[in-house]
Symmetry: C2
Subunit: 454 residues, 2 copies
């Protein structure tokens, strides 16, 4: 995607508020904090993903003459403000939890400090990028957990919500433990391994199913995964096995078969038997069709004999939780820490840090959300400075490195927080005494000033 | 979005199948049909949307040297095939139900006839584009139905699944009856009216809430919608009314207030009373925060006194149905009509047409899915030829025109199919005798040839 021309990809109010700040001369530094209020159903952790896009966006953010002409035509903005936008660049600092790390509800994933307008203007894009990618990396990690040690491939592109989602989903699910994607453009852009089999249309193009199998095996002798459910899965497996034996005679090997419908636990066992009886012990069984963490678990609990899963739509849109309760809130303006009191939406004031504590065995034990300047011995501060004065300061790791970060930390999280089922377990998080104190102080002040309470 | 470089935005199997067809010399014309198998929960119709993107994509589809270099590096493709891709263009015909029209389950929304590889290759993008936009236009129409005659504005951009979705959602919900969007880029690209209010951060930037209200009203005297729930909604309404009275004295008018949290039925009545008592009879109440068709209905049924709704996340991701069961299936190859028998996924063979029958009063009465060459007196054929030999042949209507098409046809659909609640009602659809006959013929042939039945 091209991030050079996304300045207008924003809610109108970001620009009207900015115009107001401009006219009132409100240019003091502001701090905003991004966090997720509540866990979606059955989740008890989040996987950080999407930071790379946010940093590119902030580095490139500027208004084209075309953009300014459109804004002028809306009739909402004065010339002086449009002149200001003409030279607009983001010059602030960003702290963030790196991609691949685990984090928990109410923990700041990202904090921005910049002159008020600069810190405000990116809100819409920043939430858009992080909401999607954290949601998908988290969903993918649940599939990874349910399927382990079996392999997972992203098959979601046709039903991701748009093409940008198609790319970001491929990247985010790779972070969350997938081994590859069917999405060729994601393969090209991100260097993710690409995988593919064949569609039912390939089978129906041929007079007979076995003709289709033979044709594909001839063109891709090293890479044939035959789709066997077009007419009848067992019948298809028998034909695939026949083609597999023919390949063996020529010194080739049938890489796999794909099941795409029906009751997979039983079917996969029967198909395995057919393959074994033909001596095709290395031929893999790939299953696809409506899989997510719940169906993976159900099919495996039912005795499914499957080597890998093509996981599509339900992962690609995070179907059971298609959005996060993610917010980007002002926490400090001009050195004055602030918060909002709206029911169910209260925020933590000031610039913060998340401190992670480990057990003696190296496992994740608990987190403390504190003020940025808090210090706790033996704790790891999770937010790193990733951008200073508008320039990226932390070398962004390669995607494989990010996946490694995830795999490593996920292995250190207690199983009870990884369960895909409903549970009352919550990872232990507390608020530091200094942050709590500040929050209470501000609430008292608001109650007095705004609501007339004493 | 730039559709010139989306040739690789496809599942790898589209390309491996194409390589196979190329090597086998399978260039005969194929027909594919796109349809939605099942209604998502509580839906009983769909709104056509997304065709414009599909046609742009097909017109522009080509492989860049960069794309071909990547494909070559995968090691999967022979030079001859890559040379073929170098000159690849889509040269086929497309029939489709125009945007804004209503259609129903199993009805072909789009049919493509082209040399096999050309007809196959676009599958992933075509489903991606239509799945999202039909889903959102349909969801939006449900919000429109629940809110009517109140106005709806798209507030979803921050939590749409990516930036392409952000744009397509703004367009699709406009088709489905929304009056505008907060998404400035969508406003610029599609000419959709843009709307905005203010964020909580705007309020908290100021020492006091009323300072924020006064500042905004001064900069936007014609366009101030004040957000009143940052600390306490009733308290905020009293302050907004004070600012409204101040504006009246200067000959200005407070455009509106926005509620964003709390129990909206009761709150909106109380806020209305406060506004009325201040003589602010023209000041509108806009409600936002977790709205979809269900919450709109609940708040209005509860006596909510609201003029317009900002509808965000749940519409923008179609939260209760975040994907459609949309498929793109081969229905004819080389003059041989085909289908697949996979359990629950059987298809209708051959090129088709949808015939719409109207009652004497002009209401939608029933549809017949038939063969393309079927003729029914008094019926309207819904699929129009929109592309011939790779060139768009039907002038694409402006977005306002498409919305009019929707509004007109939606008014002709019986209320029982529009209900947002669960219901057993289904719009009457039948399959023509000639299509049914063809389908039975092919099933008999497959049972005999593939499954050895007699």
């Amino acid at each position: 995607m091209n991030y050079r021309n996304l300045a207008l990809l924003t809610d109108l109010y970001e620009l009207t508020m900015a115009a107001c700040y401009f006219e009132l001369g409100m240019f003091e530094p502001a701090s905003f904090s991004l966090f997720i209020r509540e866990y979606p159903p059955n989740r008890r952790y989040f996987v950080s993903a999407g930071l790379a896009d946010v940093l590119s966006y902030l580095e490139e953010l500027s208004f084209t003459p075309d953009d300014l002409e459109y804004l002028q035509k809306t009739g909402l903005f004065k010339k002086e403000f449009l002149d200001y936008l003409k030279k607009f660049r983001f010059t602030g600092d960003v702290y963030a939890i790196p991609e691949g790390r685990l984090f928990f509800s109410n923990e700041p994933l990202l904090e921005i400090r910049a002159p008020l307008i600069e810190a405000q203007l990116g809100e819409t894009f920043i939430i858009n990028a992080l909401n999607l990618q954290v949601m998908i990396a988290t969903k993918a990690s649940r599939c990874f957990h349910a399927a382990w040690p079996r392999k997972l491939i992203d098959f979601s592109l046709r039903r991701t919500q748009g093409i940008d989602a198609g790319l970001k989903v491929a990247r985010a699910c790779y972070i969350g433990g997938f081994i590859g994607t069917s999405n060729v453009l994601a393969g090209k852009i991100y260097g993710i391994p690409v995988f593919g089999t064949m569609a039912h249309s390939f089978i129906t193009c041929f007079q007979r199913e076995i003709d289709a199998f033979r044709a594909f095996a001839r063109v891709f002798p090293e890479n044939s995964v035959l789709l066997i459910d077009t007419y009848d899965t067992i019948n298809g497996a028998i034909k695939a096995a026949e083609v597999g034996r023919e390949m063996n005679k020529e010194g080739k090997r049938l890489k796999g078969v794909r099941l795409d419908s029906g009751e997979m636990s039983e079917l996969s066992q029967k198909v395995r038997k057919i393959l074994r009886e033909s001596g095709l012990t290395e031929t893999q069984i790939l299953a696809s069709g409506g899989f997510d963490e719940y169906k993976i678990k159900a099919v495996l609990d039912g005795g499914g004999d499957i080597d890998s899963f093509g996981v599509g739509t339900k992962m690609g849109v995070s179907a059971d939780a298609p959005y996060l309760d993610m917010a980007y809130k002002l926490v400090d303006y001009g050195g004055r820490p602030v918060l909002k009191l709206s029911p169910g939406k209260m925020t933590l004031p000031s610039e913060k840090q998340v401190f992670r504590f480990y057990s003696k065995g190296g496992k994740l034990e608990y987190d403390v959300i504190g003020l940025r300047e808090d210090r706790f011995e033996g704790a790891e501060p999770l937010l790193l400075k990733v951008m200073e004065k508008g320039k990226v300061t932390l070398k962004l790791p390669a995607l494989d490195e990010i996946q490694k970060v995830f795999l490593e930390e996920f292995s250190l999280l207690d199983e009870k927080f990884k369960s895909i089922e409903p549970s009352e377990e919550r990872y232990p998080i507390s608020v530091s005494p200094s942050l709590n104190h500040l929050k209470e102080e501000i609430i008292t002040r608001i109650r007095k000033d705004e609501l007339g309470e004493s």
